[in-house]
Symmetry: C2
Subunit: 284 residues, 2 copies
């Protein structure tokens, strides 16, 4: 999907949050925001929002010299989410439909997105978990169940740190032997990297690969050839989060997208209200 | 107060709304937003947010050729609010403390601000009115009561269309003979102009003056000398809305500010949470 003009204020708000994490100096914040306004004024909107975000965050890293401003926040996210791992696993094991319960929890993990809202706390996570057990999922549930039943290989595209703990539970339920988990190739916002996959123990459960890109989504043209090959070869691709949806919504292969519809632009694009938990089977 | 970097995404969102009201053409929207990004990247943040907003909206009028993109929306706001005028007046007359009830309703009018949120409906207004009768006001209530008791002349600075109907009720309660109502000198966003004052019948109740400026606030240096003279000469100045607060919070005279704290930047500035209904006595 293309970037809309509505994405611009939102991208700037996200960039401002990053700038403030990367530097304590108000003058630096202002200088960089002015630079980003200039860059945004000249950037094409033909590409998906994560393309612009990638460009802004590259600029930000150059200007601040800070490679991973969200590292501490990501550690905290993982730490917080890991507290609930065993309880959540027990909940899945005890559920009437463990696969879909795991899917529900993986969406719950997508709700607690530091890239959209900061200051996440224990009670927010607990509240999200309780809601997750109750909220409906819209979309192609039975298609997904069938595809999971048939697939010999599954490529799981992770989204954010913290959320990746919830992904681990779904990975466990998908039978780890056939699953490969893909993370971003470099830090960008609070997206999960190889560090997060290790921190939450996914490396000892499945093969973890990096996609080679620093976009907060999956821009295939920007990914390593090895990743792109795996993307096309997998029997099933499960892509978490809005960023992966925005960048792969026109992919030339089947993809199951799993995300919480967080903003009006995406709501308009998928034809469903914000707040929807969506499992969508895209046919490539 | 100065503009913060957090204001920039918000100003852009408001500008985008205006651009879309002024033109149906997506290419025009994009061209103008790029231009506004460039302008914002070069504008000083030393002045209050309405200064930047004024600059953006001037640019917008030049680029679109549309003088008053919110005219239809303002008419609709006035029309909607006028439906409730008699009921609200009855409510004030029957109240134990009519002055403060009128103040509460004037704040309710400030909540239903098209500049912040579009798509206001009958039920939103009714809900705001019901909440208004219940919600506390924070601030210098007794100071205000005393000042109203003593003032021979009151200058009432209006804020938005629609809201101006609620202002009329407070004006009625203040004894109209001593009140002058001031509106913006030219259309900007959904701020009330002389047209709105007439539409809601204020011109037959009090003297209505224009401040001579097209800023969505009161930038004294940009106002007509006659207005500035009246501003300094009045026994009591009552300024409605965040825009007037942002531009007059360092005024060299006493001002009573009456507004709903709508955004985190203002909340931080006044040291109160968003959602607060505030009547603040500024001592100049």
């Amino acid at each position: 999907m293309k970037t809309t003009l509505d994405c611009i204020p939102c991208l700037l708000r996200g960039a401002l949050e990053s700038v403030r994490l990367a530097s304590p100096h108000p003058r630096t914040h202002e200088r960089i925001m002015r630079e980003l306004l200039r860059v945004l004024g000249e950037t094409s909107l033909e590409y998906p929002p994560p393309f612009l975000s990638q460009s802004l965050h590259r600029r930000l890293r150059i200007l601040t010299g800070v490679e991973d401003p969200y590292r501490a926040a990501k550690d905290e996210q993982n730490r917080l989410a890991l507290r609930f791992l065993d309880d959540m696993r027990d909940g899945i094991d005890a559920a009437a439909d463990p696969l879909i319960t795991a899917v529900r929890l993986a969406i719950a993990g997508n709700i607690i997105d530091l890239g959209v809202k900061t200051g996440i706390e224990n009670k927010d996570i607990q509240a999200a978990l309780i809601r997750a057990a109750e909220e409906p999922i819209t979309g192609d549930i039975e298609d997904f169940r069938t595809a999971v039943g048939e697939a010999r290989s599954i490529l799981y595209l992770a989204d954010n740190a913290g959320e990746i703990v919830f992904d681990r539970l779904l990975v466990e339920r998908l039978s780890p032997a056939r699953v490969t988990l893909a993370v971003r190739g470099k830090p960008v916002i609070n997206d999960a990297t190889i560090v997060d996959a290790r921190d939450v123990g996914l490396h000892s459960l499945v093969e973890v690969i990096e996609n080679g890109s620093d976009a907060p989504g999956t821009i295939l043209a920007d990914c390593r050839p090895e990743f792109v090959q795996r993307f096309h070869a997998a029997d099933l691709v499960l892509a978490k989060g809005q960023g992966n949806f925005e960048t792969l919504s026109q992919a030339r292969r089947d993809v199951f997208f799993l995300f919480h519809v967080k903003c009006p632009v995406i709501a308009d694009h998928v034809g469903l209200p914000t707040g929807t938990n969506l499992l969508r089977h895209h046919r490539g």
